[in-house]
Subunit: 300 residues, 2 copies
């Protein structure tokens, strides 16, 4: 008897091209997944993977099965979704969050997701964009919300919000100056995130496009720490406008205009293109619906 479990195991093993990752995604031991696939092969009377090499690759039969497996799983998901609705989203969801999103959007999203999908267990992983993309592609993460769209073809990047960045400095550092001239930029230390972060990548592009030179460069992988460094007068940095507002209000930082203005950064929802699970679809819808990168009020 054919079971959905078997087809699911095959689908993810084929999609991720790795039994261990597929097992992880299905919250299953790798050995069990292997057996499910072996069972499916015996059901269908032919091998779906060629095990002769170091790693398993799809046989022609396996390639033929893949689209059919996708269709079957999607049909099953549609069935559940249309009748059970939101209650169908359950289990564990591992997702990545960029630094900025982690400090602004994440708490609100988690709160909302917990309410809409009470059966869902969320596991957010905060890291830099590049690292998150890698883990989404490998299947370790179900999706990620990061700055900038990915260049990876295996991932789909859905823009969900534009965030305006502005230059920030400690009042003592810039005195009365409120405009960032090229000279000023060259004389001050600029604090950014590591190049693996989407925001820093975009910033580098901006520098390059405008032929700007920076003075000292200081990289820190923690946005809150960067803000602290800015307030302490170590250097200037660019921060989300909404995120900076409370600091400005408290007189701990001032905004510097620049010409041209800093680029508006697009944050994207990224997931594997071949990930057809309702979990991803539903959470994507939830993310798109709830896109506010300003600070939660209680932190302001």
């Amino acid at each position: 008897m054919l079971t959905l479990k078997q087809v699911e195991a095959f689908y993810w093993a084929a999609s991720l091209a790795n039994f261990a990752l597929a097992a992880g995604r299905l919250h299953l031991s790798q050995s069990s997944l292997s057996k499910r696939i072996a069972e499916l092969e015996s059901q269908l009377g032919q091998n779906l993977f060629d095990r002769s090499g170091h790693r398993s690759v799809l046989t022609p039969a396996g390639q033929a099965l893949l689209p059919q497996a996708r269709k079957l799983l999607r049909t099953a998901d549609d069935l559940v979704e249309s009748l059970a609705g939101a209650a169908s989203v359950r289990g564990v969801c591992r997702f990545g969050v960029g630094e900025l999103a982690a400090l602004s959007w994440l708490p609100r999203f988690v709160a909302r997701a917990r309410k809409v999908y009470p059966e869902l267990v969320l596991e957010p992983h905060v890291d830099l964009g590049r690292a998150l993309e890698e883990r989404v592609e490998s299947g370790e993460l179900d999706f990620a919300v990061v700055a900038g769209s990915s260049t990876r073809t295996a991932l789909s990047s859905q823009p969900i919000a534009k965030v305006r960045f502005v230059w920030a400095a400690a009042p003592a550092l810039v005195g009365e100056r409120r405009t960032l001239t090229p000279e000023l930029l060259a004389s001050l230390a600029v604090i950014t995130m590591p190049t693996d972060a989407g925001s820093a990548r975009e910033f580098d592009n901006w520098l390059l496009a405008n032929d700007f030179e920076v003075g000292r460069r200081l990289r820190c992988n923690n946005l809150a720490a960067i803000a602290g460094l800015v307030v302490a007068g170590v250097g200037i940095s660019f921060l989300p406008e909404a995120w900076l507002a409370p600091l400005v209000r408290r007189g701990e930082a001032v905004v510097l205009d620049s010409r041209p203005a800093l680029p508006v950064l697009a944050y994207t929802f990224q997931a594997r293109r071949d990930d057809i699970r309702p979990l991803v679809r539903q959470l994507k819808a939830l993310v798109v619906e709830e896109v506010d990168f300003s600070l939660p009020s209680r932190l302001q």
Copy 2:
């Protein structure tokens, strides 16, 4: 976790409108089927059957699910069929066969089916057409091969062969006469099958349409016995041309012409319209392919 077993149980229970019949069709105890459905209901978070009455009827949610369940099962069947092919047809198949088909087509069909589908266990039930139709509709039989098409809307009747019937008599009974005149017909006993059989129904229509009168009527539900009665000179009967040939060759019977000629009887493959199983589809294809109602050679 949704399983195909659950959906299958629901689909047949809803289609047959009876848990016990559905259980029989799935070779399952009625209690297990009941539990599978209860499990599905808890999965989906709503009742699919309204149990308040004497028998369960679909709730609106159940009605919404039915087409989706059909689609899911069909998708799963397609998957198996396209990869496993003939090997996917297995299990037990209960089917009905009319008298004529039982003595001519059945042995050959069974032999062929056993060869094409080695994993399939066949359970032929020989009976009269009407009775078989009832049992197909109720779900006790998977399909039937009988004379005439059914008037039951729940059944699909696919014509598979036309069989020419001719009048047969013992040589001693008719002397040199080889033509069946209305007078001769009225003076002889006519041996037919009971009215529940398709062939007898068609014959009655023929009589009525031509304003013929018959003399004594003798009904027997066994075709071989009828042939024996004819050979013994008890009366005349109509038998399939090909089936009669060996008797004529041995001089035990002669063919009588009639004007108009006896109707050509269409045999049909009958199954429930909503029966989407590959088993039925495949065997239907096999039946259509192999339609020879002549006697197996070893019996001639």
